[in-house]
């Protein structure tokens, strides 16, 4: 593949060293002054490095459809799907917004509930021990598998989808926040006690700052599953949003539309994930 070879070309001058060592990984101070790769080449390498996965996906998809001579009813090619989206971008944007709104609402509810329960378990040893059983249970049970049941119990509406998303987000947030609250720097707890800090001060000035990065990491873990769970719930229950549109398109054999929904939801998921991981990086720079 050409992108990889060009990426290697920019790396090559640093890798080879004229020493007798059989391994080329040992850094020595004796290397001759190496030529700096030009800025343009460096930038090209970065761009290639960032874009080859996407290009690979598109080329593989295109080749699969074209070389397999698949009819559009089975699998449309990338250009077909993109023109379908370009044909009616407004409705896709609206559906994506609906899904995103449900996901963010559920995420906030779930994160608040999870953080609250983690706080309770920080203050009470008994609560911590009692919660640990159901917490373990929830850790190995994927909530989305029981979304039909939740739909039956809470009704076929948007509130249920928010509840499902909240449940998905709730458990990782609780587990990560509880471990973050407990993971204060060594000795800091003793110092606070010696200096006569009250329990509440210890919580807000010591435990919370150390838990915050963990909480964001847990959001990064749950955001993708939350999007997937919300889509799945819309798909199972048929209310509104991308998941609903997908099942309708699928069941009426409008394959291009179904694939377009898939592509839009993947883009939405990647965007939300990037936002949360960006926040994560900011928080870990600030608090760690």
């Amino acid at each position: 593949m050409t992108p990889s070879t060009s990426a290697r070309a920019t790396v090559a001058p640093t890798a080879r060293l004229p020493t007798a060592e059989p391994s080329d990984e040992v850094p020595t101070g004796l290397a001759p002054p190496r030529r700096r790769p030009s800025v343009a080449l460096f930038l090209l390498g970065r761009v290639v490095n960032a874009l080859w996965p996407l290009a690979l996906i598109l080329v593989a998809w295109w080749a699969w459809v074209r070389l397999g001579h698949l009819p559009p009813a089975v699998a449309p090619d990338p250009s077909g799907v993109l023109t379908f989206i370009a044909h009616d971008p407004g409705s896709f944007a609206l559906d994506a917004l609906r899904t995103a709104g449900v996901v963010l609402g559920g995420l906030v509810v779930g994160a608040v509930a999870g953080a609250l329960l983690a706080t309770v378990s920080w203050f009470s040893r008994l609560a911590r021990a009692v919660i640990s059983g159901p917490a373990l249970l929830s850790q190995c049970l994927p909530v989305a598998t029981i979304s039909p049941v939740l739909a039956k119990v809470f009704g076929y509406n948007t509130t249920t989808i928010v509840i499902i998303t909240a449940l998905i987000a709730f458990f990782p947030v609780m587990v990560f926040t509880a471990s973050g609250l407990a993971r204060t720097p060594a000795g800091a707890d003793d110092l606070f006690v010696v200096l006569g800090a009250r329990r509440l001060d210890r919580f807000f000035r010591l435990a919370v700052p150390s838990a915050l990065p963990r909480l964001l990491v847990s959001l990064r873990v749950s955001i993708v599953v939350a999007v997937a769970g919300a889509m799945l719930a819309q798909w199972v229950m048929g209310t509104s949003g991308l998941g609903y549109r997908l099942i309708i398109a699928q069941s009426s054999f409008r394959t291009s539309e179904a694939w377009a929904c898939s592509v839009v939801s993947i883009v939405l998921s990647v965007i939300l994930y990037s936002i949360v991981s960006g926040l994560c990086r900011l928080a870990s720079e600030r608090f760690e």
Binding site: S4, R8, V11, E21, P22, S23, E25, V26, N49, A50, W52, P53, L54, L56, I57, L70, V74, A75, A129, V130, I131, S132, G133, P134, L136, L137, Q139, C140, L141, P142, A144, T145, I146, P148, V149, K152, V153, F154, V224, V227, A228, M231, L232, W235, V236, G243, L246, I247, Q250, T255, A258, W259, C261, S262, V263, S265, I266, S269, V270, Y273
Partner: protein, 245 residues
């Protein structure tokens, strides 16, 4: 009271809350009490149906998990041996993991038959945590060991085989613990796409026909499947942590 006893108490409290919610009819007749669910399992014919479904789902999840593990090993070793591919492969993996379950449905339906879709779906959902664990595990070899290998002139292949892979195993088994619930999830969702066997269709059919006890029994079976597979992975983690940790 000791920790485990309190944890069990927590689960008991959960069951009690479930029983109370059912008895108080907060959600009408949609919530069946645990005692009603037990009666479903007591009935021989419905027990047969549920156990058959559980077996099928478990097989799909484990099979898909196996494929995902194989793919993760191939791609992970590739990313470790050819470092210039690493960032691109990571990115591919992130995109793969960000695909919502139902969004991949049209693709899988075009690629596989309806009865193999659950396995394929389980493999897709379980892949990324396994890949992530493997790559970070292969990088987790301690600097001292890496230096020693380099100083003794070990070939890249030998370093991989004798230093990196043993260091990766504990991390990989931890990754397996996070990936196995996703494999179960993938299996069940794959079944909803039109497969006829497994616990997923049982749950869906019970939901549509308003057979609430059956539906809740299916939920219990799903929990037990997830617990069993998770427990297996946790045991494996414990063993590798003792041997290689």
């Amino acid at each position: 009271m000791t920790g485990p006893a309190l944890a069990v108490l927590g689960v008991v409290l959960l069951l009690a809350a479930w029983q109370a919610v059912a008895a108080l009819r907060w959600f009408g007749t949609t919530v069946c009490a645990p005692t009603v669910v037990v009666r479903v399992f007591a009935d021989a014919s419905s027990r047969r149906v549920l156990l058959d479904g559980a077996g099928a789902t478990m097989l799909e999840a484990v099979e898909g998990f196996g494929w995902a593990l194989l793919a993760a090993v191939v791609v992970g070793v590739l990313a470790t041996l050819l470092p210039f591919l690493r960032s691109g492969l990571d990115q591919l993996g992130t995109i793969e993991s960000a695909i919502p379950f139902v969004a991949i449905a049209p693709i899988l339906l075009a690629l596989f038959s309806r009865d193999t879709v659950p396995t394929a779906m389980a493999a897709t959902t379980a892949f990324f945590p396994l890949y992530l664990a493997l790559v970070s595990g292969l990088a987790a070899v301690s600097p001292a060991v890496a230096d020693l290998c380099a100083a003794l002139g070990a070939a890249r292949r030998d370093t991989l085989l004798r230093a990196r892979i043993p260091a990766a195993l504990p991390v990989l088994t931890t990754g397996m613990k996070t990936a196995i619930p996703l494999a179960v999830l993938g299996g069940v969702i794959g079944e909803w796409l039109g497969s006829s066997n497994g616990i997923g269709p049982i749950m869906l059919v019970a939901m549509r026909n308003y057979r609430m006890p059956m539906m809740w029994a299916a939920v219990v079976v799903t929990v037990v499947i997830a617990l069993l597979l998770y427990g297996g992975c946790a045991a494996l983690e414990w063993v590798t942590a003792r041997r290689f940790g």
